[in-house]
Point group: C2
């Protein structure tokens, strides 16, 4: 058995840092969402790039699948071991290697989480802005091209990864990018790797852009009479060029979930959660201009969080949306959708989605990073009820069809994993075949996270 042969070699290489214990395998075969347990055959805990390279070389020789693991917070089953193999857990590679404050960049190992990085940076006046909610590892965030609440201002991982060190499918170690702010020196391998979900290689080092901590921050919650007004307020704010740091939409069902789960006291109405970053003067101006727009769309109950602890409470509530939604119907599975559409089609997309939830046999919430045109529906369905399973699948198909019809994408930030694989052909046409060509070029034996992003025949 080829996997067994690989494990024997890896065991010699790593000793106790190759685990085959059942709890370990189960922990690494689990998903945050609705996918069934799919454990690997072993979990490796490397300490260095050289070790990762050695692991991959062994696996390459034996055609044994290799799957990267950060914190396990991805939502599309990215780390499920569909064909077994070795899960490479990067929790032991969690050092901040270099803080270049003058250049506003940082070099980290892939197991560093975004919160750990920002903790480490707290004395520098700088911070890493990408915020997907979960305290994900930076390696994992790069691999799913994560973004989250602050992308409207600071961009996604695509915009914030300057360079990578990558172990390829044959064990070669390459560096992509430099510490220069821009380059035209050949193909953009950094961008090719970001979002590749471990199917082209394993990231062992990242160089990331940092930002200056804003002088002033102001955040607020406000309610709207209907969904259209809330979404149109977002569109107007974007089009006026008001530089928001965050602008999140919450539907009435989500507001109810926050009340129940987080002890919030929100009216059961659509809400916007906003935040502005800048100088004292610019934030004050931005707040005034947003307030005017929101008032035009009938916003009410403005609640400004100017104290840091109030802002922390606000965004902690937001970040727990997934768990709050789950709590609306305990014990069932959750499917999370992730479409992103051009901003002009956002109101339409949200309205149609709300109607689909109203017609569904399960509860659902809507919330999202509407400044980017990206929103999520969380659907709490009973996996033991065949009708609900069929309905949730139909829902997922319809929302993706909607995204594509409106000029958007099936996934704004969660990635493909196995959850979006069935929509790739519709979204990309022949370009999906090109992705397959690239995969074959860099991983001819299909050992790197097989079964994700592309389908090879």
């Amino acid at each position: 058995m080829t996997i067994e042969a690989a494990l024997t070699e890896l065991s010699t290489l790593l000793g106790a840092r190759l685990s085959r214990s059942k709890p370990d395998l189960e922990q690494h075969g689990r998903s945050e969402t609705h996918f069934p347990l799919t454990p690997p055959d072993a979990v490796a805990y490397p300490s260095t790039t050289e070790e990762v390279s050695a692991i991959v070389q062994v696996c390459a020789r034996h055609h044994c699948p290799v799957i990267g693991w950060g914190t396990g917070t991805s939502l599309e089953g990215h780390s499920l071991a569909l064909s077994g193999g070795v899960c490479v857990d990067f929790s032991g590679m969690n050092k901040v290697l270099q803080i270049n404050a003058e250049d506003m960049d940082v070099v980290v190992q892939p197991g560093v989480t975004r919160e750990a990085l920002n903790h480490e940076l707290r004395a520098t006046g700088l911070f890493f802005p990408v915020d997907p909610g979960a305290n994900a590892s930076l390696g994992g965030m790069a691999m799913t091209r994560a973004s989250g609440t602050t992308a409207v201002r600071y961009g996604t991982m695509r915009d914030n990864v300057m360079g990578l060190q990558v172990v390829l499918a044959d064990g070669r170690v390459i560096r992509t990018g430099t510490r220069a702010r821009k380059s035209s020196a050949g193909y953009d391998l950094t961008a090719l790797m970001v979002g590749s979900e471990g199917t082209l290689g394993l990231v062992t080092e990242l160089t990331l852009k940092l930002r200056g901590q804003p002088e002033a921050i102001s955040a607020a919650v406000c309610a709207f009479g209907d969904m259209d007004s809330a979404v149109n307020a977002v569109i107007a704010t974007i089009q006026m060029g008001i530089p928001m740091a965050r602008i999140e939409f919450v539907d009435p069902a989500m507001a109810e979930a926050f009340n129940l789960y987080a002890g919030a006291n929100l009216p059961l109405a659509p809400h916007l959660l906003v935040e502005f970053h800048g100088s004292d003067a610019s934030v004050a101006q931005d707040v005034d201009r947003f307030r005017e727009i929101a008032d035009d769309f009938g916003a009410s109950g403005f609640d400004w969080a100017t104290r840091p602890e109030d802002r922390t409470a606000l965004w902690t509530m937001r970040h727990n949306a997934h768990y709050a939604s789950q709590a609306l119907r305990p014990g069932v599975r959750v499917l999370v959708t992730d479409i992103c559409v051009p901003i002009s089609r956002l109101a339409e997309a949200v309205e149609e989605t709300r109607a689909d939830i109203a017609a569904a046999p399960f509860p659902g919430t809507i919330l999202g990073h509407v400044g980017d045109g990206n929103f999520h529906a969380e659907l709490m369905f009973d996996e033991n009820d065949a009708d609900e399973c069929a309905a949730v699948h139909k829902f997922s198909e319809r929302i993706v069809e909607r995204a594509l019809r409106l000029g958007g994408t099936c996934t704004g930030e969660h990635g493909v994993g196995i959850g979006k694989l069935e929509y790739m052909a519709a979204e990309h046409g022949d370009a999906w075949a090109v992705m397959g060509d690239l995969k074959r070029a860099l991983d001819p034996d299909n050992i790197m996270n097989p079964g994700k992003v592309v389908r090879l025949n």
Copy 2:
């Protein structure tokens, strides 16, 4: 002869839109810089994507090289027909196809120039910000990952291309990206194509991000006592987070060239040319803060251009830097370097480069987009003098070695073409081999702009 067989078929396909006239061939074999005339065997003038696909299919059958052509303003010999073949001139595909003002994006054909696009956009309140100086085609700008004076604020083509239509080496037409602002749906083919210099396919349509025209603009020139002070003022401005739209460095030799060529009246000193975009209030604040920093570094002779015509004169002078440098020594060739380094190493890089110019047997100027850490030396050398040729080559090697030593790149924005090919191995190591693997996967017969970016054996 395989090329002849292709041309016979193409002639049937395109009629008079396949040219073999000598002036046409020479025009398309010319470079803006020091490379010798290298004409193609024919020039094709397609009108549609379907025609481009048909041209590539013919060329694929006959293994005939295919080279894209925008306006011919690239600086590294990107369009030179090293192995002959067909130059595909996109000047006939110059339509703005769709202006989506609400979504702040636009769909264009590759032959649209940046000035033509901005002219077309003038009534919308929007503009396309990337400004490499030359009135280049947007297809060409995407292919070289161009940037220029405004990248410090608005990013490069990497940041501003949302999606592409591409004709691949086998004639297949694919679409990359969507009109959504972000996506995690698989490999980032848009980013792979941007900067690929026509070696992976020909771009036949681009979707580009637009920005709102700033409410207020203010620009200025100021002089410094020495280069270090000027560069350190830039570094301080960046690190303070002052959002500049442009910040350009000019050395004393370049100032002299502007005086001679553009009738400027600059003291023979290092200068900064800056511009701020924003609201009236924010620009006023930015100007004050920059002024304070510049004063700290001993800036003098501040000249503010608040009238649009004064700003146009300022940036036209800047954009003609290449011709102004050339005019310092008429009749000789110009080699333009393009390194980009981390901002903390910029002063060092510029100083060492100035010393190399002082020691060289030819005149040279320095200017650049120093907000990104990117600057150019323009070297006017006599191609008939063997010593000068050897010296200019040595200069180029030294400046690239400097960039790499300081953590930077051999080319910030001009691209590889043939001029930077010899430095790719040093900059990328094994990652350059990976670029070769990708090239082979998408263009196994090496017909797309052969001899550029990668070397295949």
